[in-house]
């Protein structure tokens, strides 16, 4: 190593000029590149997205300087320092320059410290717990998101109560409804594997982690605040994507964030109609059942084309009424369907290894409580799912309550929901309008 530093040439003026030229080119290049930024990132639909994109700009500027510096040096080297034809000689014996080495250790270190500080600030700013979360009608409600293979379910545990004193829970299926300026704070739980709740337009993402059900699972939190996007008509829709591999239908596991312009639009178009529909179920048990079944997390596991359900964790419900009569000898179709909902442990469809969640009048989870009347209407609805139903649909109002009586010994109040006889016509109109507004509960 005696040669080290013996014939150290000084940095040539040409190199300095070239470096200056490339710094200039890189600045122009970056300016040109940043014009593409709107093309490479989704809309900025949340307060968080603003600061994340700012960080992206900073990273692009620093990254751009590094990129153009290194590619430029590389380009100059291959042009200026190529061996001329016939030149078999060696380059200068130049082992290094300690000063230069210190410089290119310290400068990147400083840049990295700068980036860490900027990122830290943006991170704390974005994750700072906000005071008024999930505010609806001046009250803070909880919004629970359930991930299951391969569907998202959103549930609003409202501060309203039905006549029996039960808290009203709105199930909006794969849709998250919110409004500009609402501080959204989601509680995420998974039914099976790890999922990841990602709203690209909001720049937020959080994994859903399986936890011990005896200890209340392992809920995780996700916070963001929607903001107004220029040239957008409201309500605006943004995709929800599952970002963590969860199996066969991972790519299909999608949802929608629906952002309303303000709280009153949110209340008018989503919240109030949903609660009204829950409080005023249609008299026809089939129509009522169609609404009731969407208040539960059935869509997390089952396919049902009529309602747009896509999950394959459990058996498909398409044509369930055609099969229900033959599954268990001695059981009518009505009895079979009722049993499989309330006493879901009774049997398991071959080929499915997951036990269905428990539903019934006295189950622990508030969201899974189901009265005999609700069971009646859900069975009635499921009895219509098939080409030639095994159920006795002529006498549904007798056959289904009888089945529930036989299997569970519960008396069903078949007049449930019929108290407001004079409003019957109006109720049916409501049910129809609910269908139009999507899968809202």
């Amino acid at each position: 190593m005696e040669n080290r530093g013996s014939n150290t040439p000084s940095i040539s003026p040409a190199a300095v000029v070239v470096a200056a030229v490339f710094l200039l080119v890189s600045v122009i290049g970056i300016n040109w590149f940043t014009t593409f930024v709107p093309v490479v990132l989704p809309e900025q639909a949340s307060a968080e997205s603003k600061s994340v994109d700012e960080l992206f700009y900073i990273l692009m500027i620093i990254g751009g300087v590094v990129f153009f510096l290194i590619q430029g040096m590389l380009l100059i080297s291959v042009i200026a320092f190529r061996a001329r034809p016939g030149d078999e000689g060696d380059g200068p014996t130049y082992h290094g320059n300690p000063l230069l080495e210190i410089v290119w250790t310290i400068i990147p270190a400083l840049v990295v410290v700068f980036l860490a500080v900027v990122s830290f600030n943006i991170w704390t700013q974005n994750t700072e717990p906000k005071a008024a979360i999930n505010m609806v009608e001046g009250q803070s409600i909880s919004i629970n998101v359930t991930g299951a293979r391969y569907a998202w379910t959103h549930q609003y545990v409202t501060e309203r109560f039905d006549p029996d004193g039960n808290q009203i829970v709105i199930n909006s299926g794969p849709e998250l409804h919110t409004y500009i300026g609402q501080n959204v704070d989601l509680t995420l739980q998974t039914q099976d594997v790890i999922h990841s709740y990602w709203v690209p337009a909001m720049r937020v993402k959080q994994d859903l982690l399986p936890g011990d059900p005896r200890r209340g699972g392992r809920p995780t939190q996700l916070r963001f605040t929607p903001i107004r996007v220029e040239d957008r008509s409201y309500p605006a829709r943004y995709p929800i994507v599952c970002a963590e591999l969860c199996g066969d239908g991972h790519g299909r596991m999608q949802g929608t964030v629906i952002v309303y312009e303000d709280e009153s639009q949110f209340l008018d178009q989503f919240y109030e109609p949903a609660i009204y529909a829950i409080l005023n179920p249609p008299a026809d048990p089939v129509l009522r059942g169609e609404i009731e079944i969407q208040n539960y997390i059935c869509n997390s596991c089952h396919i049902l084309d009529s309602l747009g359900w896509t999950s394959t964790t459990g058996p498909s419900l398409n044509g369930v009424a055609d099969r229900a009569g033959e599954r268990v000898p001695g059981q009518t179709a009505e009895e079979y369907i009722a049993t499989s909902i309330w006493n879901s442990g009774a049997f398991r469809v071959p080929g499915y290894d997951q036990q269905m969640a428990a539903f019934g009048p006295d189950v622990m989870e508030a969201t899974n409580v189901m009265s005999p009347e609700q069971l009646y209407s859900i069975v009635a609805y499921l009895c219509t799912q098939g080409e030639q139903s095994d159920c006795d649909m002529e006498n549904a109002s007798a056959a289904i309550p009888d089945a529930i009586q036989t299997v569970f010994g519960y008396e069903v109040d078949i007049t449930f929901g019929m108290e407001d006889d004079e409003d019957e016509a109006m109720l049916e109109a409501d049910a129809a309008s609910d269908d139009e507004s999507g899968a809202s509960g």
Binding site: M1, N3, V39, V40, P42, E48, L55, F56, L59, G63, V66, I70, Q71, M73, L74, V78, F81, A83, G89, D90, G91, T93, Y94, H95, G96, N97, E101, W104, T105, P108, A109, V112, L115, A116, S119, I122, W123, R149, D192, V193, I194, S196, W198, P200, A201, V204, K205, D207, L209, P210, G211, D212, V241, A243, G247, D248, G249, H250, G251, R252
Partner: protein, 562 residues
């Protein structure tokens, strides 16, 4: 076999090579304890797996031509395809490929006659074929479909028996990797001749040493994690099952504690190769030799402190910040290497050999992977692009733009030493052009689709991303095609390439100071290393090379002159 085993020296112009015998092809199919044979065995088998894994990548890109699921029968079939693609590329291609060059070159560079444990060396290699059979059997029986990361509970409660075979195969490959690495460490520490001091060691040896230390310390974590995973799957334990008091994040922690350092297992030897190739082909010493050597160690050390950045979306939020900081720190030693390489070629006399082109390609692409790496370290931005195509792009820039380009550079650089023949340079240049641009147009657009909202590991996607995906797929097919050029070149050059002679690149490191291919004990006399492995441009080095030329006969064909 009989048809391939062509006796050497059959052609008239090759009579001068009479003295140097190549092993017969059949020797490569047998158990051998010669590190040079084992090196070739590693290399050829790893390249075969590269072709299999590459074919699977083509299948993936074909499926992604449309936003619908059309080529595959189900999403699960697609999942198993990329699972096995990742597994093959990491465990059966890149890691064994570096064992190939390490095995062939490191003892020669050190001036050693063989590895420290020749028998163990052969055993480590012969573990790979059965492990590969187990992994591939799993693929054809009932494939693993949880990705190469195999997060439970998807990989425990929701996966078929192929997942068990996958874990067994990965276990065997881990054991093989540990054995190989112990061998490298002992060889580098104990087998150097007295003249080969630690600060005269070529940088490839430094890189292999750093890599092996990582492998010995990190791979047992994979072994431990896989053991628990297998128990969960087979024996009914619940280490990773929350319903049984287990913890799904336990797997992620142990797995990434291995797998992040494993990224450096895959790329550090490539960086060692780069130091060799850039210096030799630009006829200039490596700039800041000690810093380049030490930065390998720095990367190896810091690499153990960053694992949880793979868990930025699952870790408790307050634990994410420290891992962001350690991750960013890694950029510093990587930057040192980058600038040192630029300093190496700056002012040199660059020969545009194929090896050099791929080394320059590495520099140009790895810098993009490095920049996107720092972007991913920035926590708030990572949250947006975590588990998207941005990440897919990033690690392909590092592992393809980095490691595979370095593999090609190493192939063109050491092929003459391994076979005694030169590769065809014209084909090499064509190969480079196709690979470089095919790669760039495959993986650069992936940054964009990722940021726009396309998650990784999906067979169906939003229609708006179709033009991007078609551009990516088309470029991927070009990239896939480029592989055939190098296969053709290797086969053609093996039989008909010009005789290389001992030192076609006039390099100073010891592997070139013996015949090509080297005799069974590597050196006929005890080799004397030159005082500086990269001391080009001095009269002493010219005199040293002169002596070597005289000792091994006429100077061979220089690259680019045929």
């Amino acid at each position: 076999m009989a048809t391939i085993a062509v006796p050497l020296g059959g052609q008239a112009e090759q009579q001068e090579a009479e003295a140097v015998r190549r092993p017969a092809l059949s020797d490569y199919l047998r158990w051998s304890v010669d590190h040079k044979i084992i090196g070739v065995q590693y290399g050829v088998s790893a390249f075969l797996f590269f072709i299999i894994g590459g074919a699977m990548a083509m299948g993936i890109r074909l499926e992604l031509w449309t936003p619908e699921l059309d080529l595959m029968v189900s999403g699960a079939a697609y999942n198993s395809l990329f699972t096995i693609h990742g597994t093959i590329m990491i465990f059966l291609f890149i890691i064994p490929m570096w064992a190939a060059f390490g095995n062939f070159v490191v003892p020669l560079q050190l001036g050693a006659k063989d590895m420290a444990f020749p028998w163990l060396n052969a055993f480590a290699f012969w573990l790979i074929p059965p492990a590969a059979v187990v992994v591939l059997l799993g693929y054809f029986v009932s494939p693993a479909e949880a990705g190469w990361t195999s997060y439970p509970p998807l990989s425990t409660l929701f996966s078929g028996d192929g997942q068990t075979l996958w874990a067994l195969g990965a276990h065997l490959l881990g054991i093989s990797s540990i054995m190989g690495s112990i061998n490298f460490i002992v060889t580098i520490f104990n087998m150097r001749p007295p003249e080969m001091t630690i600060w005269r060691m070529p940088l490839l040896c430094w890189a292999v040493l750093a890599t092996s230390i990582i492998a010995v310390m990190a791979t047992p974590f994979l072994a431990g994690a896989l053991t628990l995973l297998l128990l969960d799957r087979v024996a009914g334990t619940t280490f990773f099952d929350a319903a049984g008091g287990g913890d799904v994040l336990l797997w992620q922690n142990i797995f990434w504690f291995y797998s992040h350092p494993a990224v450096y297992i895959m790329v550090l030897p490539g960086m060692g190769v780069l130091s060799e190739v850039l210096s030799v082909h630009s006829r200039k010493p490596v700039f800041g030799y000690r810093m380049v050597g030490l930065s390998s160690m720095g990367i190896a050390f810091v690499g153990f402190t960053v694992w949880a950045h793979h868990m930025f979306t699952s870790l408790q939020p307050e634990l994410r910040i420290p891992f962001m900081i350690t991750t960013m720190i890694i950029a510093v030693p990587t930057g040192i290497k980058m600038f040192s390489w630029l300093g190496t070629i700056w002012g040199g006399k660059i020969r545009f050999t194929s090896a050099m082109l791929f080394a320059l390609g590495f520099l140009s692409l790895f810098v993009i992977g490095g920049i996107s790496g720092v972007m991913l370290a920035a926590l708030p931005f990572d949250i947006h692009v975590h588990d998207t195509y941005f990440v897919v792009s990033h690690f392909h820039f590092v592992l393809f733009g980095g490691s595979v380009f370095a593999v090609y550079a190493a192939l063109y650089h050491w092929f003459p030493k391994v076979t005694g023949r030169m590769m065809n340079e014209r084909l090499g240049r064509i190969h480079f052009v196709f690979t470089y641009f095919g790669f760039l147009f495959t993986f650069f657009p992936m940054h964009v689709v990722g940021m726009l909202g396309m998650p990784r590991r999906v067979a169906v996607y939003v229609e708006a991303f179709q033009p991007w995906n078609q551009l990516i797929s088309l470029s991927a097919f070009v990239l896939g095609f480029s592989t055939f050029i190098v296969i053709y070149n290797v086969i053609k050059s093996y039989y008909h390439g010009p005789i290389a002679g001992a030192n076609p690149w006039r390099a100073l490191t010891l592997e070139w100071q013996t015949t090509s291919p080297p005799p069974p004990m590597n050196f006929d006399d005890d080799p004397i290393p030159f005082e500086d492995p990269y001391g080009y441009g001095t009269e002493a080095s010219a005199a040293y090379l002169e002596v070597v030329d005289e000792a091994f006969g006429v100077r061979s064909n220089r690259a680019g002159e045929h």
